[in-house]
C-alpha cells in the first residue's frame, strides 16, 4: 500500500464507491413518444396516450436520445454497441403507467469507457461499466390531496442516460470530483442541461467499506443525490455509519438509503429482503437498436473538442499552467472566450489571469455565464494588449474593466473603444522618463527622513518612496520605471 492510499483510510477502513448517474437527455420530446419534456408544466398536460399507457399504444424510439447516447460514448471513450436491446423492468407503482419501465439490461448502448479528472494535483480515472437508455417514471404527489396521492405523468417517458461506474472511487472528495467532471462532460457536449435542482442530473452512490486487501464489503446505495454539497455530506455520514456498525460487531445489510439534508443523516428506505424481482425481458415492442458505424462517425465528426483535450491543448499551445487550463475549460463558452482573447492579444497568461480573476469575480457577483459577459473577448484582448505594451498599469486596467463592464464604451472597434476610454479617463501610464525623474526628485526632496532610513539599510523606506512617487504621479507612473529611477537616484 502506498502512502497516499494509507492516508485515505478512514479509521483504518478503505472506502469503496461506485456511481449510478441519471442524466436527463436534452431532447425536445420524450424517449418513446412525441410529448414535450419541458419542465414545470401543469400536471399531466405533457403526457400523451403513449405516456399514459392507454391500451393499444406502443413505444417508438426517439433518435435524438440515441444520438446523445452516442455522443456520450464518444466523449468518454466507450464502445458504442452496434446492437443493443431494450428490456422491460416490471414493477407496480402508481407513477409507472405501463407497470414496467423500458430500459436496457443485458446489452446496453454504451459499453466501457472512463472519466478522468484532477483531485488536487493528482490525476484520477474512474472506469465506466456502461451507460444505457431508459425512460423516467412520473411523479407521485403525496401532499395537498387530503390523504390521497396525486400522480403527475409529465415526467413519464423523459429520456435518461444511466451512467454506471466500476467501484473505483475511494473517498467522498473523489466522488464529488468525479460527479463534477461527469456533469461537465454531459453539459459540455450538450446532451444534458445539468440542472440538478430540476432533477436533470441525479446521482446514486453505492458505498461500502472494507479493511485494506479484504474483499468488497456489502454496499448501501444512497439514492437521488441532487447537489454536490449533499453528495459529500451523505457519503461522509454513510461511511462513518458503516464503520461504526462494523466496529460495534454488526454486519452491513444491503439497502437503499436516502439522505436527509436537514439532519445530515442517511436512512434506509428498503432492504434486500424486499428487493423486487423485476422480471427483466427484452421488450417485444422495440426491435434491437441498431447503430451503424456511419452514424457513429457522423456524430464523431460533429463532436465539440472535449474539455480534457482542450485543457491539454491550452497547456501545449499557450503555455498555460495545468491549473489555469483546467479552470478555463469549465464550459465550451469559457474555453472559446479565453482562446479568442488570447489569440487577439497574444498574451495568453495575462488573459488567463484576467478571466480567472476580474472577469470571474464580476460574473459570479452578477450570477452571469461567460456567454452573457458584458465585456467581450475582443474587448478583454484590447485591454490586456494595453497592459502588455505598458500603456496602462494593471490597476488602471481594473478601472478600465469597470468602465467596459458598465457599458461605457462607445461604438467602434474594441481596440479603439479601449483606447478612447483610456484617453477619456486619463488612465495612461507615465512613460516619459524626464517627467518621472522630475517627480522623483521632488519626492526625494520632500522625504529626507525616508531617504536617510533607506541609506541606513531599511528596505521598507524604499517602498514608502515608491508609494509617494506613484501618488504624486496620480498612479500613472510605471511602477517598474519608478523602481529603476529611484534606485539610480539613491544609488
Amino acid at each position: 500500500m502506498s502512502k497516499k492510499q494509507a492516508s485515505l483510510l478512514v479509521q483504518g477502513y478503505e472506502v469503496v464507491i461506485g456511481f449510478e448517474t441519471h442524466a436527463q437527455l436534452s431532447t425536445h420530446s420524450k424517449i418513446f413518444s412525441r410529448a414535450s419534456v419541458a419542465f414545470g408544466a401543469e400536471p399531466n398536460t405533457q403526457a400523451c396516450a403513449v405516456d399514459l399507457a392507454l391500451p393499444g399504444t406502443l413505444p417508438v424510439m426517439n433518435k435524438g436520445a440515441v444520438e446523445r447516447a452516442i455522443q456520450f460514448g464518444l466523449a468518454v471513450g466507450s464502445h458504442v454497441a452496434e446492437r443493443s436491446i431494450f428490456a422491460r423492468k416490471n414493477y407496480f407503482y402508481p407513477d409507472l403507467p405501463k407497470g414496467y419501465q423500458i430500459s436496457q439490461f443485458e446489452i446496453p448502448v454504451v459499453q466501457g469507457g472512463e472519466v478522468s479528472f484532477f483531485l488536487g494535483d493528482e490525476k484520477k480515472s474512474v472506469r465506466l461499466v456502461r451507460a444505457h437508455l431508459e425512460e423516467d417514471a412520473g411523479k407521485s404527489l403525496h401532499e395537498d390531496f387530503h390523504g390521497l396521492s396525486g400522480i403527475d405523468l409529465n415526467r413519464a417517458g423523459t429520456p435518461l442516460l444511466e451512467i454506471v461506474t466500476e467501484p473505483d472511487i475511494r473517498s467522498s472528495a473523489e466522488a464529488v470530483a468525479y460527479a463534477k467532471e461527469l456533469h461537465k462532460i454531459v453539459t459540455w457536449i450538450g446532451i444534458c442541461d445539468g440542472n440538478m435542482q430540476e432533477g436533470s442530473f441525479r446521482c446514486d452512490a453505492n458505498v461500502s467499506v472494507r479493511k485494506p486487501g479484504a474483499p468488497l464489503g456489502t454496499r448501501r446505495e444512497i439514492k437521488n443525490l441532487n447537489s454536490f454539497k449533499f453528495m459529500q455530506q451523505a457519503i461522509d455520514f454513510e461511511v462513518r455509519w458503516q464503520i461504526d456498525r462494523i466496529e460495534d460487531g454488526y454486519e452491513i445489510e444491503q439497502a437503499t438509503v436516502l439522505f436527509d439534508p436537514d439532519t445530515g443523516e442517511t436512512r434506509a428506505m428498503r432492504t434486500k429482503e424486499d428487493a423486487a424481482d423485476y422480471r427483466y425481458f427484452p421488450d417485444p415492442d422495440l426491435p434491437p437498436l441498431l447503430i451503424e458505424r456511419e452514424w457513429v462517425e457522423r456524430v464523431r465528426a460533429e463532436m465539440p473538442e472535449l474539455p480534457r483535450v482542450q485543457a491539454e491543448r491550452f497547456v501545449a499551445d499557450y503555455g498555460l499552467p495545468e491549473y489555469d487550463a483546467t479552470t478555463l475549460t469549465q464550459s465550451p463558452a469559457m474555453g472559446a472566450y479565453f482562446e479568442q482573447a488570447a489569440k487577439l492579444s497574444g498574451q495568453a497568461k495575462l488573459v488567463s489571469n484576467w478571466i480567472m480573476g476580474e472577469i470571474s469575480r464580476r460574473l459570479n457577483a452578477g450570477e452571469l455565464d461567460i456567454a452573457a459577459s458584458p465585456v467581450s473577448a475582443a474587448q478583454l484582448a484590447a485591454l490586456v494588449a494595453r497592459i502588455a505594451d505598458n500603456t496602462i498599469s494593471n490597476n488602471a486596467g481594473k478601472q478600465l474593466m469597470d468602465a467596459l463592464w458598465a457599458g461605457e464604451a462607445i461604438a467602434g472597434e474594441p481596440q479603439a473603444q479601449v483606447d478612447a476610454l483610456i484617453e477619456s479617463k486619463g488612465l495612461k501610464q507615465m512613460n516619459d522618463s524626464g517627467a518621472l525623474e522630475a517627480i522623483v526628485d521632488e519626492v526625494l526632496a520632500a522625504n529626507e527622513k525616508n531617504v536617510a532610513e533607506y541609506r541606513a539599510g531599511k528596505e521598507k523606506a524604499f517602498n514608502a518612496l515608491v508609494g509617494q512617487v506613484m501618488k504624486a504621479s496620480k498612479g500613472k507612473a510605471n511602477p517598474g520605471q519608478v523602481n529603476e529611477v529611484l534606485k539610480a537616484r539613491l544609488g
Binding site: 399507457a53 399504444t57 417508438v60 416490471n90 402508481p94 405501463k98 417485444p284
Partner: protein, 498 residues
C-alpha cells in the same frame, strides 16, 4: 332477388358502386339482423347513430362519383381494436365502459377506405382463448350449432360472418385466433406476416405474436380488406414493417407459377404436407375433409410433397411460455390507477392492486399472467423463457428448410371440429393442445390462412390451413381463390342463417 345480408363484400361493393342500393340501406338491414340475432352473443357494441352517420358519409362519396372497393361496405371490428366511436372492452370487465381517444391504425385505414363500422365484436378476454368462452360478456355461439363454440379468440368475428350478420370483420391472431375460428365456422380468414398490419391500437396480448387480419366469406373478400389494412406505420409501431401496401385483390388473377394453364391454374405449385400435421392427433373427420381438399388442389395442378416440421409439438410449450410472459407484462398497465376497473374498497395501494386486478380479470387471463410472471422470474428465466425463445428460432428455421421443397404448406387448422361449449372449460391444457397446428406459423411470424374445406362429423365445418413464407400473402390468397373458384364450401351458410 337475394337479401342484402346474403351478399358478400364483392357483391355488395358492386351494388353500391352501381347505386342499386345505398350504404344506409345495407347498414340498416345489417343492424336489424344483428339485433335479431343477439342470442349468438357476437356483438358487444352497436351504435346505430354512429354507423348510419358513417354510411351517409359513404353514400355522399359514392354520389360524388368516388369508387373504392370497400366504399360503403359495413364491416365490424373485434373488440381488441380500440375505437373512438365505440367502447372497447377487449372482452374484459377490466375495460368495461372504456372509450379510447383514438382509433387503431387498422380501424382508421379501413374507415379511410370507406368501410362503415357496424359495431364491435365479442372475443375471448384480451384475446386469450380458443372457444370464445373466456369473454366477460358471455360466450359466443357457433351459428352452425349453437351448442358449440365458434372458435377463439376472434369468435365474435367468425360467428358474425358465418351467420351473415356482417359480410366481413377484423380479427387478430396471436396463436391461431383468426384461422381456428374461421375453420370452426366455415369462413375464410388470413393472418398476414407479423408486422404487415400495424399493431397500434390493438389491445396487446403477446406483442411479438399479435397480428391483425380479415375474416370474410371468401379469399377474394379477404384480399379486398387486407389490401386496405396492411402497410407501414413506423411513427406508431416500431414492429411495423417498412413495406408498401399491396393490392392483393388485383393479384388474385395472376398465375402462381409459369406453368399455370386455364385448366390447371395451380400447375407448378408445390404444396408441402408436414407429416406432423397428419398424425394420430388429428380427428379422422378433419383429416378426411383436408385430404379431399388436397385432392382438389391436385386436380387444379398442384403437386403435393411430403415435408417435415419436426418441432411442431414443441410449439405448444414454447408458445405457452412466450405469450403469457409478454401478456403478464402487457397487462400490468391495468392496475386500477389510470383507467379500467378499480375495486370499490381497499385498505392500501397493494390491496387496491390485488382487488382491482382480481375482480377485473377473468380466470384464464389470471392464469396466463401468473404463468408469465413465473417464467420470467429470477431463477426460471433461463430454463423457461430463454429456452422457449431458442425453440422458437428453431421452429422458424424448420419452416425455411421446408420452403426449399415447397411453395406453400397445407394441413388442418385444428385437430377437431368445433367442440361443445363448456367441454374444455375445466381443462385449459386440452384447449392449449388444440392449438398445435396454428402455433408454428405464429411463432415464426409467417402468414397463414384458413379456407373452408368441407364438413366433418355432425355437419361442422372444417378448414384447410395454408401457410406461406414471409410476405407470400398474395400467393396464399391466390391458392385459396383458385380453390374457391372450383369448390363451393365457402358459399355454404348455416341453415338458419342462409
Amino acid at each position: 332477388m337475394s337479401e342484402l345480408y346474403q351478399l358478400d363484400v364483392s357483391a355488395l361493393a358492386a351494388k353500391l358502386a352501381a347505386r342499386e342500393v345505398s350504404s344506409v340501406e345495407v347498414t340498416q338491414a345489417l343492424l336489424e339482423r344483428a339485433k335479431a340475432n343477439a342470442d349468438l352473443g357476437a356483438y358487444l357494441a352497436l351504435d346505430e347513430a354512429v354507423s348510419l352517420a358513417q354510411a351517409r358519409a359513404a353514400d355522399a362519396r359514392l354520389a360524388a362519383g368516388e369508387r373504392a372497393p370497400l366504399l360503403g361496405v359495413p364491416i365490424a371490428h373485434k373488440d381488441i381494436f380500440v375505437t373512438k366511436d365505440f367502447p372497447t372492452t377487449a372482452g374484459s370487465k377490466m375495460l368495461e365502459g372504456y372509450r379510447s381517444p383514438f382509433d387503431a391504425t387498422v380501424v382508421a385505414k379501413l374507415a379511410a377506405a370507406g368501410a362503415v363500422t357496424l359495431g364491435k365484436l365479442n372475443c375471448d378476454e384480451f384475446a386469450m382463448g380458443s372457444g370464445n368462452d373466456n369473454s366477460a360478456y358471455g360466450p359466443v355461439l357457433n351459428p352452425w350449432d349453437k351448442t358449440r363454440v365458434p372458435g377463439g379468440s376472434s369468435g365474435g368475428s367468425s360467428a358474425a360472418v358465418a351467420a351473415r350478420l356482417v359480410p366481413a370483420a377484423t380479427g387478430t391472431d396471436t396463436g391461431g385466433s383468426i384461422r381456428q375460428p374461421a375453420s370452426f365456422t366455415g369462413i375464410t380468414g388470413i393472418k398476414p406476416t407479423y408486422g404487415r398490419c400495424s399493431r397500434y391500437g390493438m389491445v396487446a396480448y403477446a406483442s411479438s405474436l399479435d397480428q391483425a387480419g380479415p375474416m370474410a366469406r371468401s379469399a377474394k373478400d379477404c384480399a379486398l380488406l387486407l389490401s386496405a389494412m396492411v402497410g407501414p406505420d413506423l411513427d406508431r409501431d416500431s414492429t411495423s414493417l417498412d413495406r408498401p401496401a399491396e393490392d392483393y385483390a388485383a393479384a388474385l388473377g395472376l398465375p402462381l407459377s409459369p406453368d399455370a394453364t386455364v385448366a390447371q391454374p395451380l400447375k407448378g405449385l408445390r404444396i408441402g404436407l408436414p407429416q406432423e400435421f397428419f398424425g394420430a392427433g388429428c380427428a379422422p373427420d378433419v383429416l378426411a375433409a383436408v385430404h379431399a381438399a388436397l385432392a382438389e388442389y391436385e386436380k387444379l395442378g398442384a403437386t403435393l410433397v411430403e415435408i417435415r416440421l419436426p418441432r411442431t409439438e414443441l410449439s405448444i410449450p414454447a408458445y405457452y411460455i412466450i405469450a403469457p410472459a409478454e401478456a403478464s407484462s402487457n397487462l400490468s398497465r391495468f392496475d386500477g390507477v389510470k383507467f379500467g376497473h378499480r375495486a370499490k374498497d381497499y385498505a392500501d395501494l397493494s390491496d387496491m392492486y390485488k382487488k382491482s386486478r382480481s375482480e377485473g380479470f377473468g380466470e384464464e387471463v389470471q392464469r396466463r399472467i401468473l404463468t408469465g410472471a413465473y417464467v420470467l422470474s429470477h431463477g426460471y428465466y433461463d430454463a423457461y423463457y430463454l429456452k422457449a425463445q431458442q425453440i422458437r428460432r428453431l421452429i422458424a428455421q424448420d419452416f425455411q428448410s421446408a420452403f426449399e421443397q415447397c411453395d406453400l404448406i397445407a394441413g388442418p387448422v385444428a385437430p377437431s371440429v368445433a367442440w361443445k361449449i363448456g367441454e374444455k372449460s375445466d381443462d385449459p391444457v386440452a384447449a392449449y393442445l388444440a392449438d398445435i397446428y396454428t402455433l408454428p406459423a405464429s411463432l415464426s411470424g409467417l402468414p397463414g390462412m384458413s379456407v373452408p374445406a368441407g364438413f366433418g362429423s355432425d355437419g361442422m365445418p372444417v378448414g384447410l390451413q395454408l401457410i406461406g413464407n414471409y410476405f407470400q400473402e398474395a400467393r396464399l390468397l391466390g391458392a385459396a381463390h383458385h380453390f374457391q373458384c372450383a369448390t363451393d364450401w365457402h358459399t355454404r351458410a348455416p341453415k338458419d342463417f342462409a
